[in-house]
Symmetry: C3
Subunit: 324 residues, 3 copies
Amino acid sequence: MKINKFFHKTNSINLSKIFKILNLKFNLKDIKINDIKDLHNASSKDLSFMNSIKYLDLLKKTKSKYIVTNLKYKKLVSKYGKPIIVSNVLKSVADITLLFYPYSLDDTFDINASYPNIKKFKNVKFGKHVLLGKNVNIGKNTIIGHNTIIESNVKIGSNCQIGNNVILKFTEIGENVKILDGAVVGKKGFGFFPNDKYNQRYPHIGMVLIGNNSEIGCNSTIDRGSLSNTIIGKNTFIDNQVHIAHNVKIGSNCIITAQVGFAGSSVVGSKVQIGGQAGISGHLKVGNNVQIGGGSGVIKNIPDNCKVMGYPAKDFRKFLKENK
Amino acid sequence: MKINKFFHKTNSINLSKIFKILNLKFNLKDIKINDIKDLHNASSKDLSFMNSIKYLDLLKKTKSKYIVTNLKYKKLVSKYGKPIIVSNVLKSVADITLLFYPYSLDDTFDINASYPNIKKFKNVKFGKHVLLGKNVNIGKNTIIGHNTIIESNVKIGSNCQIGNNVILKFTEIGENVKILDGAVVGKKGFGFFPNDKYNQRYPHIGMVLIGNNSEIGCNSTIDRGSLSNTIIGKNTFIDNQVHIAHNVKIGSNCIITAQVGFAGSSVVGSKVQIGGQAGISGHLKVGNNVQIGGGSGVIKNIPDNCKVMGYPAKDFRKFLKENK
Amino acid sequence: MKINKFFHKTNSINLSKIFKILNLKFNLKDIKINDIKDLHNASSKDLSFMNSIKYLDLLKKTKSKYIVTNLKYKKLVSKYGKPIIVSNVLKSVADITLLFYPYSLDDTFDINASYPNIKKFKNVKFGKHVLLGKNVNIGKNTIIGHNTIIESNVKIGSNCQIGNNVILKFTEIGENVKILDGAVVGKKGFGFFPNDKYNQRYPHIGMVLIGNNSEIGCNSTIDRGSLSNTIIGKNTFIDNQVHIAHNVKIGSNCIITAQVGFAGSSVVGSKVQIGGQAGISGHLKVGNNVQIGGGSGVIKNIPDNCKVMGYPAKDFRKFLKENK
């Protein structure tokens, strides 16, 4: 995971303090914890968490020594690290994230964005009414469309075309990328803890990363990740009115047609083709070279090289046969 | 129903005049009629209408004494009021609405909206290029994003965040509400009488009401009501690219994920969760505590506490069983 | 097909030069070719192409004498003209199109659009921040909403209402048309040749044509055609968040509700009604007076006067019976 320049992180925090905000008794030797990260990205000085058997492989390899989990996985987690037992893993992870990233819930928009200082951006063309936050980085020969808003710390590579009425925040974009009119990239994900009076927002400290040569269609929406990043691979083309939720990772050379939707945290391989209006449920894994027919509803993992269609999605030939 | 400040209403109109525009013979004693309202909201001085047996319960309780209906319901309506028999109930209601609200078809946009007079709005922050109509009311500590347009008479509570490129018209918003980038709220509904040469628009004199602590996602669209209001309850969160048609009423504490669509006039209870891309047909009733799986197509009423999935939506366990 | 004013076309090109860019041996008598067009629109001086048996009827009637095709159709095409045999018809057509229209891949946005010269547009009202390209033609009594961008050579008829935040390019609009807030009309279609490193764009030299009295909903997207035009007929109403891909042709008096999607090149008749969230696959033909239920997935042609529903779409009564 790239270093996060979008959110201020506090220095290391005593493990005892973390236990305190979780309302847990602390009877260990106190140490400094550097950050909270997922099992894959955590270093030996970071806290991590585990709330599903789906992440067993990552648990086995994690460098983290302290892992937030629930009673169900206490024994399992004990084999690989020190379990910190809580009743609601995601809620506790949110609380800890907020401790490390105290401003991570201030997700409003950049009210102070202002007109670009043209001198600072040589070989960049700006349309009318463009607004930039602080410390925006734009590569040469890139053009920025009318009315477009680019918030602080966003990075855009060279030879890009950012269309009109586009909104970019918490995003890093490679070279030769096209973001078409009306797309909104980098908003916080639709993740929160329901509460009768007032839903509690989940911190979203992830970014959106978009690879070289890719294209994002008109009026599409791509949310940034919570603890990991939302990623669009290289040379992946996304059509109009597509929605990509937080933490989704899409590989290279994919073709995703209009009005497709991805729920949170799904991982999609490379050379995947998805027909219009198909939906991909959350936390799934779609392999490489997969073809998903238009209108399909994918609710389980799809191995490499499969062609599926239907709601729920099934083998393509089976779908055709059943629907003769 | 709240008093409508968005549309100019004429004073009371003689019943004989109403009969005249309906091309009906008038042989009753003439009286003044104050307004036209649905069965539920009509007072004893208002006209009302009935065009489906679904509204029998409301008919029994209505205070209205003159009810526009067709031959089919003449006998039934006679038990509770004086039936005014027409061939096309909705068309006649539209004609009468236009009589009471003579400007209700002038649904263009507020070409005269202009930059906010900052002095009038203490403790409100405005982004760049914001345009306001006349008599806009904004509560303290609310922020309004860049390029956002707020038309005349719209009311926004305190502590709200209205994003960038948002359009608000014919709308009242509670406290602590978030409307995210690119959402369009309050446009007239997609209701009209088809006509070979030139479809005739239906007047839409309803508003959009959004309760406290709710959130509306990016690029979502919420249409205002025709004769009643479109309502989003308190603490209901709506994700990106959701469409909510005219007259829809959604309860409190609902969670509605991306790309869901509601057809007109459906009523949804509280604590309802709806997965991505699901669709709810028009004029349906969805109970409380209902869960609707992603991609479902709901075409009939759903009682309280049910969990459904599929197209058409059925019991969730049945759906899973049939699709093993 | 209307004469294309949006893309510069070179003069006629020697057939030998066309063979050269296709890497084909040239052993014919050299002649001048005027343009490349589809079988229906080509004159005797234009090149055309054939890549599917679906176009047999058009082949029989075409005026074109030189037709790009592949080995499979060599014999068939020989009956009606001189076949030019290539391995990838669409790729070769793209290469030839680029030869005739050398700027057809420069599909960025009009960075030089500027504020309207009010004097030039009598009886036209403009909102704030409107930007126009060169040679824009707007009829009397038309109003243009705030922040709207209208690119060069776009033509808008009289009595139209173009909403706020609308983007129009490569488009011609009739009289009394409404384009609602946030719609994006005329972007290039989602057509390209996948390539491991860098997808190759297909030229899109078609326009979007919108007939009199029609309406396009909020945040909808309509892409322009590749070699033919995308067409919306007269008095056709399209709701919010609808997507219409390149080359689609929709007839008159249609009613298309929210979130419907059309894949490329489908042809839809008149008086067609389509329920919310339905999807129409590419290259299909939907007849006149057809009704398509909400949420349907249409994957084959539908004859006149049919009523269908389901995914895949089937006879409506059959759908209801199977789903009792």
